[in-house]
Symmetry: C2
Subunit: 410 residues, 2 copies
């Protein structure tokens, strides 16, 4: 077996054992591009070996997506198959685990009509609303891992041959996800413990607000009274642990919907539904985006912010040290799974229900009453750098260092 094959198997095992943590008798649903075929086959094998009852795969193909955006009529982009959404809901209700494999060419939809992209995202968001609410509330185990498409690999290594670019990206993925370590499953247990310690400390400190300072950024984010900091390790409604993102380096909570003020500048490009948005700023007043600029992808950003009312408010506040295996690859991945976990980030759109006390049991209305944002969208964007300082502000106005020069200050 080559090192690549060994690492691919270890990565598949990580996805099954640590990512979705498949349980005997469970169905595993994999959503994946066809380009990840080799990984999918290994994941399925490991899942059955771990006792999965069934593995159901929903495939996509970049070339077909491109063809659709070029040739289909407008009305095709206002629809999402209701029966698939219903199927996902049923699978979730029956306790299936959901693994997504990301790896899309960041420029896939570069030439597509942004209105079509927005319409399709909206149609999907609406149709999958109930399913997404199960995911957002951690009712089921779910996880996201990655596999290079040729387009993605060439975006990162434009001067390499396709094969070499893909090989290099796999190496970066293996490094960033600790797969290249001797025992990745053990390495992850350790890592999750460290994240938990930060989480517990923040939950003890109970900050009233965070104040972000960096070039282009001066932003204050209030936190709801009942906010809960959460780390990469999650637990579903049946008490089974899982890790929603591999890699994950974040400790995160919900913002107070109406408590965000100031301006923030992104530090890494945002790949939204196949279009890149970069060098952008958002200006907030009482939680709402009241102004924004973008050097790249302005139109797409505008449409994202216009998705619904909640798309102009912050849902998630995530703290991520600038130092991590991801950062050490020294790459911009043009993929949120990696870039967000190498950088402090915020998310536009819906907050995670589990980020406030009792949130998992609340209706949408109750979540809004508790002060957090709801929306059909949730899009992370990266704002961290080695120049970022963050202060925690206590209820009585005292300031404490949380981040200094991009890393944890405690």
């Amino acid at each position: 077996m080559t090192t690549f094959q060994e690492n691919l198997e270890k990565y598949a095992e990580l996805a099954v054992k640590v990512g979705v943590n498949i349980q005997p008798g469970q169905t595993l649903v994999i959503r994946t591009p066809i380009s990840a075929l080799e990984l999918v086959r290994l994941v399925a094998k490991k899942a059955y070996e771990a006792g999965a009852k069934n593995v159901h795969v929903e495939w996509s193909d970049e070339e077909l997506t491109r063809t659709k955006f070029h040739l289909a009529p407008d009305e095709a982009f206002h629809e999402y198959p209701a029966w698939i959404a219903k199927g996902f809901e049923e699978l979730a209700e029956n306790g299936a685990a959901f693994l997504s494999i990301t790896g899309q060419d960041p420029d896939l939809l570069k030439d597509a009509d942004p209105e079509r992209v927005a319409n399709l995202n909206k149609a999907g968001g609406k149709a999958l609303k109930t399913f997404r609410s199960y995911i957002m509330a951690d009712k089921v185990s779910w996880s996201i891992v990655a596999a290079p498409s040729e387009g993605w690999a060439k975006k990162i290594s434009p001067d390499e041959s396709k094969d070499r670019a893909v090989e290099k990206l796999w190496e970066a993925i293996f490094a960033a996800t600790r797969t290249d370590q001797a025992d990745p499953v053990a390495a992850w247990k350790n890592h999750l413990k460290t994240l938990n310690e930060k989480m517990n400390e923040l939950n003890k400190r109970r900050y009233h607000a965070l104040h972000y300072k960096a070039p282009g950024t001066d932003l204050t984010i209030e936190l709801p009274d009942t906010h809960l900091w959460v780390s990469g390790g999650s637990t579903n409604k049946d008490g089974v642990d899982f890790v929603a993102n591999i890699p994950t380096e974040e400790v995160f909570t919900a913002a107070k919907k109406t408590g965000v003020n100031g301006t923030v500048t992104n530090t890494k490009p945002l790949n939204y539904g196949g279009t890149l948005i970069d060098q952008f700023t958002l200006t907030f007043k009482d939680g709402k985006v009241v102004d924004f600029t973008a050097e790249q992808g302005y139109e797409t950003l505008k449409r994202l912010l216009d998705t619904d009312e909640g798309a102009r408010y912050i849902g998630e506040v995530a703290l991520v040290p600038h130092q991590s295996p991801i950062s050490e690859t020294d790459l911009i991945f043009y993929n949120t799974l990696f870039d967000e976990n190498a950088s402090n980030h915020l998310a536009i759109g819906t907050a995670y229900a589990f980020n406030i006390e009792g949130g998992k049991e609340m209706s949408e209305e109750e979540l809004e009453q508790a002060g957090i944002n709801t929306s059909i969208t949730h899009v992370d964007f990266m704002i961290g750098s080695s120049e970022m300082d963050i202060d925690g502000i206590t209820k009585d106005g005292k300031r404490e260092p949380v981040f200094r020069k991009g890393n944890w200050a405690f």
Copy 2:
């Protein structure tokens, strides 16, 4: 463009224009193995160019199927996702067209537990019963074309390299489907005209029964009074023409359920759900299989016959000349789409509703009352050869030659 690329495009066009004959605004559903990716991309392109609103693809992967049969627990084989069946019904009700791409390794499930194979076929048959009834009644346009998997290609050319075997099988497919002719769409219009002429003549003759004679075969099949001969060209409920099998060389009708007597021997191997059944005989009394033998795949044949009550009766009676572009390839394809269209064949299981007058509007009970068979299964098996003679027997007992030495006698 290479000849291969040219032929592949012509074949995709044939599938879209002649096969499902896609109409503006229609959704095309493609069910296909991932190995047919290149063909699927071309079919999607041609479909959108012909005005399709959307192309939805349901993918499968042989390796995943094999893994499931090896590693999944027994209960996994008693289930078929109800939401997918429901989705197919909805798509059909909304007028979608359905294209299946066949190409499975004939030995895919050779080492699988036959009980698992039977259970999965049964579960799928039950779940898809309503959808299948739409197909069987030609409510929607549907078509089957082919694309080689490596396993299938190697089965036909075991001594060639994988690449060469696949190349040779593509050449055979292009020849057998008239794709290698200058204008395949025109060639098909011509061919369908010829088949129509045979159909019209048989419908005029209104035989009471057919009598088959060949080595190992002496079989009489009565036809229902209201039987209708049908050829490869079909018309859906909206009046749109389509061709359900590419290639098709058959003119076929329904058997009288209780009117089959004698013994029949197969002449080409039958590939049933990944297992080969060969050198088998079926003996009928008053329509029912009362005895059977098989040198290969006995257990699978037994389970097929035990699927339900109707699986012991004949549904379809198809006349196919021994001379055709398929026969001229001089290959056994180990794939029913090709082998059945190079050979007289019968089908075990359900009859096509449109093979009796008014059948499309009948319930299952009414179809049985009209004298034809219903079942959750429908499996063609090949009985033709250059040594087969078939007589038509009129109501008053007169015999007329229908086939002599494997070819049309009129």
